[in-house]
Amino acid sequence: MEYFLTDEQKMIKDLVGKITEEKIIPTRAELDEEEKFPWEIMKVLADSDLFGLYIPEEYGGFGMGCLENCLVMEELSRGCCGVSVTFAATALGTYPILLHGTEEQKKKYLPDIARGKRLAAFGLTEANAGSDAAGIQTTAVKDGDHYVLNGTKQWITNGGEAEVYTIIALTDKSKGSRGASAFIVEKDTPGFSFGKKEKKMGIRCSATRELVFEDCRIPKENLIGKEGIGFIVAMRTLDITRPGISAQAVGLAQGALEATLEYSRQRKQFGQTISSFQAIQHMLADMVTQIEAARALVYAAAKTIDSGAKNISKVSAMSKLFASDMAMKVTTDAVQIFGGYGYMREYPVEKMMRDAKIIQIYEGTNQIQRNVIALQLIKESMAR
């Protein structure tokens, strides 16, 4: 379908597509099998300037937006979602600085991130605070020119590998969700260490790790924005980056479709290729239709965000909900069309099906997305 992408946007898609074909597809099975962090691919993305995509030009980036980020995520995910989430987590860790950081913070951190010299990460989730993010217990207590952090963050993508962490912690426990604040914590700060690295079902080359803070002192200049806006920072960040995760689902499904098409035209049973069976054809038709519908929704959500629209929670949530459910279905059907071969690690679709599941869970579960969508829908109808 025609999405009227600009020449620059087409260029980005071509460039990342090439990286995916040449660097990601040939290595993804090994990265998955060995749970090996994709540093080499990150280096390629850095050399190709992709980490600077959404960072303003004055900090060494290109000043592009959500749609361009989605194009990158889609193309990377066609190859491997473990690789693309590693890229996406840096955006997640960077947007708080972009949106609410001071000039000094931007000057200090953004140029290195734009050049891909340092990866970033975003730490909100804790063992007892997942969907209910307001339940976090990590604290940040002011002490002179410092804040002292204590607590443990769980399942943080890029944990241990990133050098810049955005951490949400409570500066005032009595105020509940209004008592949270966002901080920048650098790797190697005394009192900041890493807990266990998780063994996962999918996206296995990505690093998911605990962040442990024990009397970790950081300069008070590392506060993002002001005290008390931690959740606003987190929610605004997630609303803007979520379409990237939606695009991850679209790219993943596209990759599954491509692999399935190729296979179904080669595999012969009953003396004919399986693509000549109507049952298979209908599954292929459903796959491509659902992918295109999701892509259209994701691009539209991204364009809405890039237009500067105010209430973006609903479109952002809709794109993630629809695209991730679609990717789960499409990858499951891909395995079905491959039959027993699809269940084997020799072929790419079993990994794709494993990878698909996480997209329904992280950046807010799909149940939470439905809550957000319904809430805003009802609010809008009441306002009318």
Binding site: D7, E8, M11, I12, L15, K18, I19, E22, K23, V44, D47, S48, D49, L50, G52, L53, F62
Partner: protein, 261 residues
């Protein structure tokens, strides 16, 4: 260092079709790419610039569409592209090609090193590099697999030979042709692609180069392509049977019959 990399645009397929009437390549309808061996030359030029500073210029001779190859080179990081394009250049063999490149390099004026790929994927001759050096009167080293160092107006390289490599030192200015073992060409960067999109490409025609038109294009090409084929290897093999001493006897007998011993 002033580096000049010579590249060629070739059909992006291994199934090259030959026009039976003229015995030349059919290029219509085939996507064009930079000759793969030339991408190693581009990469090496960029690496040398990164190490020793300077500028990398790329020259290609070809139809107007060959501009795309230069833009791809610029997207990788090349500073400037020069396209030699003129109807008079069409149908050139290696002799006519090296003549046009020679005149273009003379027009550019100064250079320290010229880098070419070892051969093209469509022509396969590997002659343009050495011919160009010959015309310029500079030394050259072919099949370079590593540039070790550049200093005091010399370059030290490793050159592939049948069963190993030799280390050669050459005074500059000079020319090298490179093999694929030398490096892994980089992918373009976003900044490079944006620069490439709006970059000015210098186009030089036959009259810009002031060439003798009887020396370029088909007119300047003495090569007659009679037939293109891969030479057959006629090598017979035979496996001797029996225990070791009877095999040795058989072998000696055969070698005597063949008058080898």
């Amino acid at each position: 260092m002033e580096i000049i990399v010579c590249i060629k645009q070739v059909p992006g397929t291994t199934e090259v079709k030959i026009d039976p009437a003229t015995n030349t390549l059919i290029r219509e309808g085939v996507e064009s790419i930079i000759n793969p061996f030339d991408t190693y030359a581009l990469e090496e030029g960029l690496r040398m610039k990164e190490r020793w500073g300077g500028k990398v210029t790329t020259i290609t001779m070809g139809p107007p569409q060959a501009e795309k190859a230069l833009r791809e080179a610029i997207a990788m990081g090349i500073d400037e592209g020069v396209l030699l394009s003129d109807r008079a250049f069409a149908g050139a063999d290696t002799l006519a090609t090296s003549y046009a490149l020679f005149r273009a390099i003379e027009k550019i004026g100064s250079y320290d090193l010229i880098i070419c790929g070892k051969q093209t994927m469509d022509g396969d001759t590997g002659q343009v590099g050495p011919e160009l050096a010959e015309r310029l009167g500079t030394p050259f080293v072919t099949y370079v697999k590593k540039v070790e160092e550049v200093n005091d107006g010399h370059i030290k390289v490793e050159r592939m030979i049948e069963d190993g490599y030799e280390v050669v030192e050459m005074p500059l200015p000079g020319l090298i042709t490179v093999v694929k073992e030398i490096n892994e060409p980089r992918l373009p960067s976003l900044r490079g692609m944006m620069k490439a999109k709006s970059a000015e490409i210098t186009i030089w025609t036959a009259s810009d180069l002031g060439v003798d038109t009887s020396k370029v294009g088909l007119a300047g090409s003495p090569t007659q392509v009679v037939r293109i084929f891969a030479p057959e290897r006629s090598r017979k093999s035979e496996i001797l049977q029996g225990d070791v001493s009877s095999q040795v006897d058989q072998l000696v007998k055969k070698l005597r019959e063949a008058k080898i011993v």
